[in-house]
């Protein structure tokens, strides 16, 4: 399913995205998406026990190494790539939450994952699903006020990047990244439904 030469493909797509090619942007998104899926599968298979210790940050980095690095991306493209990967992560997680929520509401098949004792109980699970959807909506509103902060949330919360890495991606100092994160977090917390125990 992957293009013949994915790294070459990435360079071309990134260039096209810079030129404002909407289709290229979608294609790039899809290609990162596929790569993350593939790597996740590989990681899960290697660990033997699904759901146990998936390392998203490692996934994002690995996806970068596999897809983007051999193409020798510019710093700008590299930042772009990480932003993209973080957005893919958000999409993956929220889409999954949405699907589960829909299934639950319709009373149809509800997927359950019971990986082990650490797995959240069904109740916390449902709450988690709801919280993720609420978070996604709040993030849309944050995007309207400050796209930069929204990117930051994706990098931090969904892709699990460290503040040092985020600083690098966003061209900021680590300290500024942390300050930004504090603002973004305050915004989201104020937006989110009444405070209470939340799995997030």
């Amino acid at each position: 399913m992957l293009p013949q030469n994915p790294t070459h493909e990435i360079t071309r797509l990134l260039a096209a995205v810079r030129d404002g090619d909407r289709a290229a942007s979608d294609a790039l998104f899809a290609s990162v998406y596929r790569e993350l899926h593939r790597l996740a599968h590989a990681q899960l298979a290697a660990r033997g026990r699904p759901g146990e210790t998936l390392d998203t940050t490692a996934l994002v980095h690995e996806a970068y190494l596999r897809l983007a690095q051999p193409a020798g991306l510019s710093a700008e493209d590299r930042a772009h790539f990480f932003n993209l990967a973080a957005r893919v992560m958000r999409h993956v997680v929220v889409d999954y939450a949405r699907q589960r929520d829909a299934a639950k509401r319709s009373g149809e098949v509800v997927r359950i994952e019971v990986g082990g004792p650490r797995e959240p109980a069904a109740e916390a699970d449902a709450r988690l699903t709801e919280d993720l959807l609420a978070l996604d909506a709040s993030l849309e509103r944050l995007e309207a006020e400050s796209p930069r902060l929204a990117r930051l949330v994706e990098l931090r919360f969904f892709a699990g990047l460290s503040f040092a890495e985020i600083g690098e991606v966003q061209g900021l100092t680590e300290r500024t990244a942390k300050r930004d994160w504090r603002k973004a977090r305050a915004f989201l917390l104020a937006e989110l439904s009444p405070p209470g125990p939340s799995p997030l």
Binding site: A30, V109, I112, G115, E119, A186, L200
Partner: protein, 973 residues
Amino acid sequence: MPPGGEPDWLRWFDELADLPPAERSARLAGLAGDQPELADRLERLFAAEEGAPQLLSRPVVERAPGLVAAALARDAEPEAPREELAPGTRVGPYRLLGLLGRGGMGEVYLAERADGVFEQRVALKLVKRGMDSEEIVRRFHRERQILARLEHPGIARIVDGGTAPDGRPYFVLELVEGEPILSHCRRTGLPLEDRLRLVIGACEAVDAAHRNLVVHRDLKPSNLLVTAEGQVKLLDFGIAKLLGEEAAGLTTQHERSLLTPAYAAPEQILGEPVTTATDVYALGVILYELLTGRSPHPRKRSLPAIQGEEGETMERPSAILRRATPDGEEDAAGIPDRQRFARRVQGDLDTVVLAALRRDPERRYRSAADLAIDLRRFLEGRPIQARADSVLYRARKLVLRHKLATAAIAAAILSLVAGFAISLREAEIARAQARRAERVKELLVSVFREADPQKGKGPNVTAGEILDAGARRVETEMGAEPEVQAELLDAIAQIQLSLGLFDPATEAAKASLAQRRKLFGANSAEEALSLTTLAEVSSGLGRLDEAQRLAEEARPAVERRFDPESPERQRLTLLRAFLFHHQGEREKAVVLAQELAESARRRFGPKSVETGHRLVVVAATLAGFSRFAEAEQAIREGLAILEASPEATPYQRAEARELLANLLEFRSLHQEAVTHYAAALDLQRAALGPKHVKIASTLIPYGYALSEMRRYPEAEKALREAIRILEPIDHYQIGSARNYLGFCFLGQERYAEAEQEFIAMERFLRGKVGADHPALWGARLSQGLAQLRLGRLEEAESTLSQVVAHFERNEQERDGVRSALKHLGEVARLRGRPAEALAMHRRARDIEIRLFGTTAQDGVAFSNYLIALDLLDLGDPESLAEARPLIDEAISFLRRSNAKHPTLDKFLLASGRIALAAGDRARARQDLAEAADRMRRHRGGDHPLTREAEALLRSAEPSPPDPLSQRERGKNQ
């Protein structure tokens, strides 16, 4: 927001964020006058931040790793096209007429033969586009294969199959035009009897599958259609499984994600083995729904709830029916007359439904056919087979709800669990054993009930009493099931043995043996198992000949009945290995132990946990035969395997470490030993809790090693903790703990206290072990040593002579002989018989060299020291010449092994005395100065040895002694 820029609040937030709260409030108040909205917003932001310090603090992958993993691992891509094939599309010889439904991985179309061969309309199932992964395609073929072997009116027949033009596989089924069973009942308001008949029909279809070794695993109303003729048809074998195909029938993660939680059996959700009883559970849920209009499960089934889920925690169907339908709780089954239903359901049907829904698959109806039989019996007004949960069972639940956490009971449960964990692991497919375990658990718990703190004896009941009570109950109450009775008695005997309760263990084992002889005859395999237990008990009691006889009696039947790899056989092999050892047939013993390890290598692979575990056993056997070097090699190999293997239990790792530590101690590597003991203790505490017997038995050698390192307070603490754990169960290892505690006192020169411990040890052991048991004689040996140190030489001589004489009778007690000889020799020397002492000490050293295979050992160094002292007392020039290299060797060994060795000062003192006697004053001064210096630091200036060293040092001075030291010497002498 300024155009193109960022909103104001961002800047303001930064500005105010790090201010102290009071200052921030003041600034906000100021801002409120100007820009009330902005101030309000900032206030809310800061409040939100403070109100939820944890929220969003960590990435989602840390908060919900399972969710992220599942999201990423999903097979489907969200953008994957979901377009269905247009009506009229040709698939093989079929023409599609429309989409009937969509499942997890397939689409089902209404279709007809396009070639006009038949007019019949069919259902055509096709792998969903974009989902044609290897796994899905494999599964799809599997479903087709399974359907092909099922021929039953209640199961939709497969008629054809092939590959679509786009490469997707498909198969064709008889078209079932019907309605899901639940909505059918709701729509028609079907009477109770007709509902039961429908379920009977479903059971028959499921049973047909079961008889073909197929478990459906996804039974739910939408997979059970009722046709216009009233026939139930079972559909969708998409996640069905062939029994026996994969050993345990475990549910994979992927399969689990396809489950329908409301109908899934607990074992499916928990990933336990799936059996035909799994389908029985789903049928039970459906039956429950058809009878009550409600699911037996709360809307959300949390994991802990599933684990604790039991038929009896669910509301009885009749109870639900009696409640008028409350608002919001809809009747999904269209029950025509709830009260009438309630009257019919109450009693037998309640029992039938709940029996199908039991948490433990073993306690459900074994098959769908059995469930159908009871439903039919009910319809015919005959008594049903299922029994409501027994009194015993309910008692168990009741008791478990109480918290009976006395140390003894906890210890008993834990040792039981640990014991079973091991036996189950070894047994692999331990169905029978699991059942036995269940019975034993039931029994024990019912006995705990009697030990309920509210009922009399209170929390002081011991595990021994519990087991006694258990044995009594088994004998009085289980007469109706003599086979189970005998098995339970055998199990109880094994537990008692593991707790060191030899007498009751003997009784229980004998009772079991008698029972089994009666039931199965002499030379039966069952009899042989009881014989094995009895042999183990005898061996534990030190009655080795008897044990040997019993083991050999058991052997033919065990070898006939069980294969060499079976746990039963290996248990006997291990026992025989130990017994051979005690009879001096050490080679045979080691061969047997190595066979155990080899068989594990062959069967489980060289790196398997089982191999690791068996290597530990081999090492233990070798160590038992004083073959320490080989033992250490085996244990290190075993430990490496266990450490590397994720499946190894903490318990196994601890066991290996403990043994390694034991071996290290033989080489006087106390420091390393202490590290391994401490690690073993951590593992054991994590696995077994703080008060398990096993912990005590690790604490004991740990305490010993610590006292060898002169870490006396820690040593004393460890040993006292061990005694505290063991005392409530009167465990035989209390003896060892007291022994080492005594050594701890000896090391601190608290000889009187030491003697008390040794006396207590003997008192404790007497009557518990045979009169010849090594531990009993060990206690006497230690008393002899204490008497020696207390200066009661005559008494010491008598005690130690008896000990030597006793140990001399058994070649295997060489270790005891050499220790006793050393002390006895010391007595002889102190009583002025150095030649006798010399002979004894030389013999002790010979034994040690054979025992340890090296002269580089603490014990040998100490023997050299003792021999040198004997030679010194003999005093002739040849003796003194002989003494010199011996004491030199001893000193240099101690210096190499541990520069701070506690007895180095005494060795130096001896060396100085030998030098003085031989006239080498320079050497004497050198050694005595070092001795005196060490003694002052470690023993104190007032210690008699320090004084002796100082005095000797002065006498070795080259110049005439000055008047002061003359006076001093005079005072001291």
